[in-house]
């Protein structure tokens, strides 16, 4: 669990937010090094698909734009390619900041209706349960998390593609395939959760 987000008053600028990011977000302690050069956003392969891009997200954090930052699509469109991190002239772990902000956005309910977040959750569910992504289940879970009717609608819209994939052997119809050592994976994930909890405790 992360320390509670600062309460935002009516105004949109919460000056406690940058401090909260510094203390709670991975790499957040490096935020003050950013010189707003733009190398990160200019390097991002999907920069045009982002509402703000990494550089502006950092500026917005400093300006205390909590809600805008946590609901930004930048957090979800980032592909973790690490180009920004590698090129940042100040050595700021930009990708870690973006990725951890995405996790925080989920934790604090900013991503409940975000499609990318819902997709990420379905993806994670399948990966942790089977050690693999099962296209059918990930897709179904994702579609229906958008609502029952939406699930039906999207499912039907993609039926042709699905059948094509089955025909060409790209998708199978039986039980989901699991990896060989699913117990091993479960143990790894459990340990990761433990470490995360320990770290959270240490910080308190």
């Amino acid at each position: 669990m992360t320390a509670a987000l600062p309460e935002t008053a009516e105004n949109r600028y919460d000056l406690g937010f940058a401090r909260w990011v510094r203390d709670n977000v991975e790499g957040g302690d490096k935020l003050s090094l950013c010189m707003q050069c733009g190398a990160c956003s200019g390097s991002c392969p999907i920069g045009t698909q982002m509402d703000h891009g990494p550089r502006k997200i950092i500026a917005m954090i400093r300006a205390g734009m909590k809600d805008e930052v946590l609901s930004s699509n930048t957090l979800w469109n980032c592909t973790s390619c690490y180009r920004c991190t590698v090129r940042c002239p100040r050595g700021i772990p930009v990708t870690s900041i973006i990725q951890d902000l995405a996790a925080k956005a989920v934790e604090f309910g900013y991503a409940d209706k975000k499609e990318n977040a819902l997709f990420a959750k379905s993806f994670w569910w399948s990966t942790s349960a089977f050690g693999r992504t099962d296209e059918r289940l990930v897709t179904a879970r994702y579609y229906f998390s958008l609502g029952f009717l939406e699930g039906i609608r999207r499912g039907l819209a993609n039926l042709k593609i699905a059948l094509g994939m089955v025909r060409t052997g790209r998708m199978h119809l039986g039980m989901p395939h699991k990896i060989k050592d699913i117990k091993g994976l479960t143990a790894i994930l459990a340990r990761a959760a433990e470490i995360e909890a320990e770290e959270a405790n240490d910080e308190l």
Partner: protein
């Protein structure tokens, strides 16, 4: 510190760039004996390769010429070119320098008539023009070289071509049997003025220096604009010789970057302002874009910045480009985020100039035989060592422009005088 009077009153100046020349002259004109050691064939260092100086856009040769006259007139300065310091022992007031002198194969009889160069056939890269053109193996370092004397490149020695070169000289100036020699000299104080080299642009892989001839560095731009440069002063696209009318300057190419040079090189903003002015002077219809993080033009430099900024053909774009690639039409494409507007751009140019910074000659990994005290980047500590007899001058001690280099050289001369005088 040593007690008593210094054994030697001579001041050794290592490096004959603008800083070393200044330090040598200041000390000599105060009545002290100076040995000026330069490892290259002529004096002046890097500024000889600049087309013009910011902020006044005057020619470096004027100032250098005056300094050379002062050196010629002053019997207290002993100038040694082709001479590199190999070792230093001793203490303040009593140092022993070991110097290695490499052969020039041309003696003081040389009148710079150029017959040897005509006789020579083999060509080598012209290092004065950063390898952008060729010179013969018998060559004058450059048009304004001081001493005004030819040099013969060692690779030709021992070949019939060398004999031909020797025969061509009417003044008996060619000496093919010159050997490398090592000798010692005494000095009471040492001024290190070993200068800098351009940061290696090949290390900036995202800026594609090696991927297109039309992506060049700022030091190459100085040569492109110089009348004695590889293009006789025409600013062209190296790939096809066409006029370069859409030009981009990329600031902080390697400087202020923890992956390269973490410090600000201080002169590159001003150098790019100067380069934009070169382009605009040549082509009234040219357009120059300067990509910057922030423009560092302080104090007296700010009026120069204002002047350049008022030129409608020069645009200032606040953005550190992410990368430069070669576009489908073969022109370099500068890609990044324009930060005020948050616009993602991709723009083609005729010529892209990387404003690379200055790295001290003694940067880590550089081949510098003598071990002296320096910081993690290779800049010397102003009072080198702790015995109070060694000092740094010019860019050897920090990223300075010419004015600051000469100021630090004057300061070093004064310190050196104190060291050899009082003991």
């Amino acid at each position: 510190m040593t007690d008593g009077a210094p054994k030697s009153q001579t001041i050794a100046v290592v490096g004959g760039g603008i800083a070393g020349i200044t330090a040598a002259l200041e000390a000599a004109e105060m009545g002290y004996d100076v040995v000026l050691l330069e490892k290259g064939p002529s004096l002046g260092g890097r500024v000889t390769r600049l087309n013009r100086y910011f902020p006044k856009l005057c020619h470096p040769t004027c100032g250098l010429e005056i300094n050379y006259q002062r050196i010629k007139k002053n019997p207290r300065i002993k100038l040694m070119t082709m001479s590199e310091v190999q070792g230093v022992t001793g203490v303040r007031g009593d140092y022993l320098l070991t110097v290695r002198k490499t052969p020039r194969f041309v003696n003081a009889n040389c009148t710079a008539c150029g017959a040897c160069a005509q006789a020579a056939e083999t060509e080598i890269d012209n290092s004065f023009n950063y390898g952008m053109d060729k010179v013969k193996v018998a060559y004058l370092p450059h048009e304004h070289a001081f001493p005004m004397r030819y040099i013969i490149s060692p690779e030709v020695i021992g070949t019939p071509e060398a004999d031909k070169i020797k025969e061509s000289c009417k003044y008996n100036a060619v000496e093919l049997d010159q050997q490398e020699e090592t000798f010692d000299l005494n000095a009471g104080a040492i001024i290190w003025a070993t200068g800098w080299r351009p940061y290696d642009a090949s290390k900036l892989d995202v800026y594609g220096y090696d991927s297109s001839p039309d992506i060049i560095t700022n030091v190459e731009m100085e040569r492109l604009a110089a009348h004695d440069g590889p293009t006789d002063g025409k600013i062209i696209r190296p790939s096809d010789g066409e006029p370069a009318k859409r030009v981009a300057m990329i600031q902080c190419a390697g400087s202020r970057d923890v992956n390269h040079l973490p410090y600000c090189s201080m002169i590159c903003c001003l150098a790019s302002l100067k380069h934009a002015a070169y382009v605009r002077e040549q082509y009234p219809d040219a357009e120059v874009d300067i990509y910057y993080i922030d423009i560092r033009a302080h104090d007296k430099m700010s009026s120069f910045y204002e002047r350049v900024r008022n030129d409608p053909g020069i645009n200032f774009i606040k953005s550190k480009p992410g990368h430069i690639v070669v576009g489908e039409d073969g022109r370099p494409l500068v890609c990044g985020e324009q930060i005020i507007e948050r616009e993602i751009y991709q723009r083609p140019y005729d010529l892209v100039v990387l404003a690379t910074g200055m790295e001290p000659s003694r940067a880590p990994g550089a081949d510098q035989p003598v071990d002296v005290e320096q910081d993690e980047h290779g800049f010397l500590i102003p009072a080198v060592g702790n015995d109070g007899g060694q000092f740094s001058a010019g860019v050897a001690g920090g990223p300075f422009d010419v004015a600051l280099s000469t100021q630090s050289a004057t300061a070093a001369a004064l310190k050196a005088i104190q060291a050899v005088r009082a003991g």
